[in-house]
């Protein structure tokens, strides 16, 4: 029913889309842009774009990856624009947060995820948070399944290495 309404461009469908997919879209967008407000804006923008172009959705089962793909692409584009000028700053107090095995593993792992390249973060979120199969992650990111596997493997290697590093100041990227 939702897909049919979407194909007809009926704005009433927005409530259902937001309810069913909004948080998933937000999670992936947030992982990419690392900004809650921007992620929320991307969700809204993506849902409106979906409503605009719903008639092109031919496969009912593809709704979720289709929406995730819209949000992912918009987040990547947002980040690309926002990252034109970035400033690297040493964040006070970051030493204590960026602990290896002896520190807070959870926080260290989260920080390591945030330090991954954007598309790798997207792959991580789609695979390990939304629990999508590799093939579906590949569809969303428009890469081959092998590429997804390579990215995930590489990401895990990065995370393992980052967590094992000695405590050090963290260079946080802040958008100017």
């Amino acid at each position: 029913m939702t897909v049919q309404a979407l194909r007809r461009g009926r704005p009433e469908v927005l409530a259902d889309l937001l309810d069913r997919f909004g948080r998933d879209m937000q999670a992936v967008a947030y992982l990419i842009v690392r900004d809650r407000a921007a992620a929320e804006d991307i969700v809204a923008d993506s849902l409106l774009a979906a409503l605009d172009h719903g008639r092109s959705l031919r496969d009912d089962d593809a709704l979720r990856p289709w929406l995730l793909r819209i949000a992912t692409n918009r987040a990547l584009r947002y980040r690309r624009r926002a990252a034109r000028i970035v400033e690297l700053q040493v964040v006070e107090g970051a030493v204590a947060e960026h602990r290896g095995p002896t520190g807070d593993d959870s926080l260290a792992l989260w920080e390591a995820v945030r330090d991954l390249p954007p598309r790798m973060r997207a792959a991580i979120g789609l695979r390990y948070y939304l629990d999508l199969p590799v093939e579906t992650v590949a569809l969303v990111l428009d890469v081959s399944p092998n590429t997804v596997k390579t990215q995930l493997k590489s990401a895990l290697a990065h995370l393992r290495t980052a967590l094992a590093d000695e405590p050090m100041p963290v260079a946080e990227v802040r958008h100017a």
Binding site: L18, D59, H158
Partner: protein, 480 residues
Amino acid sequence: MRDLDDTALERRLREVLEDHLGALPLDLTVDALDRRWGAKRAHRRFGRGRGMTMLAVAALLLVGGALAVGSGLLQRTTVVPSLPVPSFAQVAIASPTHAPHPSASQSPSPSPVSLRLAWTRVALDATFADGRNHSPRVAWIGDRFVLADMASGAVRTSTDGTSWQPLQPTDAAPGYVHLLGGALTMEGSIASWQDTYVGLWHPQDGPDTANMPPVTARDIVTIVHPPAAPISTTPFRGRVESIGIGPKGIVAEVHSVLDLQAITGTAQDGGVGWYSPDGEHWTQMTPRHTSSDLPGSRLPTGGFGDVVGVSDGFIANAGDAIWYSADGLTWRLLGHDSPGLLGLLPWMGGALAREGPAPYGQPLYTRALVDNGSGHVDLWTSAGLTKLPVPADLGGTVGTGPLGFVAVDVAYNDGKAFVSRNGSDYGSSPIPAEMGHLNMGGFYPATVAVGDRTILVLERHDNGSDGIITWSLWLGAFEP
């Protein structure tokens, strides 16, 4: 945690992601969405928020229609006319010295011409057809079509789109960077040329390169050069976010923290611009990280979006600002385009800009230029802005080449191809249903390569359920 095996690390990762992402509050409400939807519709209705009233729109349509009828343009039945010298007579040209924002087209209706395209499916061998492990790309480069699989490195060339030969070493040409750059995006966080971006780091730059092929600016210049030419003078390393090639040489913007630290003594990754007349000798632009966006100010290195080579220099966008350079080193502001500017596409000696908000779900690697119903596209030249009228239903992926401007829309409008030789006369023709019906959700726009006699459309087919991906190539030929 170094001792964790992959399974344990994955389990821990799921927990951490759940802790942080699952706790994210989503404050977006249906009411807020409805308001935005209403505003978006009103925005369109009233001329994209530029103060254009319905009365003005109606007046423009009446005047434009009367002019078109009076000039006999609407009666044309030309079948794909020969390529004329581009004429900008009926469109507005903005003064380059006043940083203009695009205004409404002075000619709201393009002239229709009849168009008959015959489509045939070109047989692809397994190297290019199997989408699971291959990433084919197609482009018209110089005097032939080039089909490349970026996973295996296989390259075929064809002058007619039907008969294909393996790439010969002597075939290397500057344009190959175009094809290669577009293909790189497929492999993850790398990218770019024109409407995409190269984002793969040089090994010295840090961890991004783990398990990735070593594609860097230096590799791209290798492609730009004839194979035997030296590349040792290429001074930069890092990821190339923008590269434009034209009659005046090459402009590239490179991002590398290491480069910047060495050059500027700071850790600000604002990008470094380079110019080369020949791909071998390079001059660095003066680093500049901000721009006032006022006439006379300089293009901020690091501010490039896309850069394209045009007939008399280069045109680049930095956000919605459009810049021109005759020598690749000194830049002047031409004006501003839509804030949603997606990219630039070389055509008719200038750079086409897509107007309007970014299309939904558009893969970054495609050369998408979707009109989105605004009724025109923007052509920027060193003289300023020219607004070219396009059919109201034009959409899809655009390619430009010797035959002109071609848009192939496999997802919308029941599938159409639009062709213009001169930016004012447009013909449209239906495409075979088979070209788009397997395209999952319609969100994989096709790649369009425009040759001197034929058009190639490369399509990715995805059944959306079992992950089977295949590619198909279609040849469009003009019928008399």
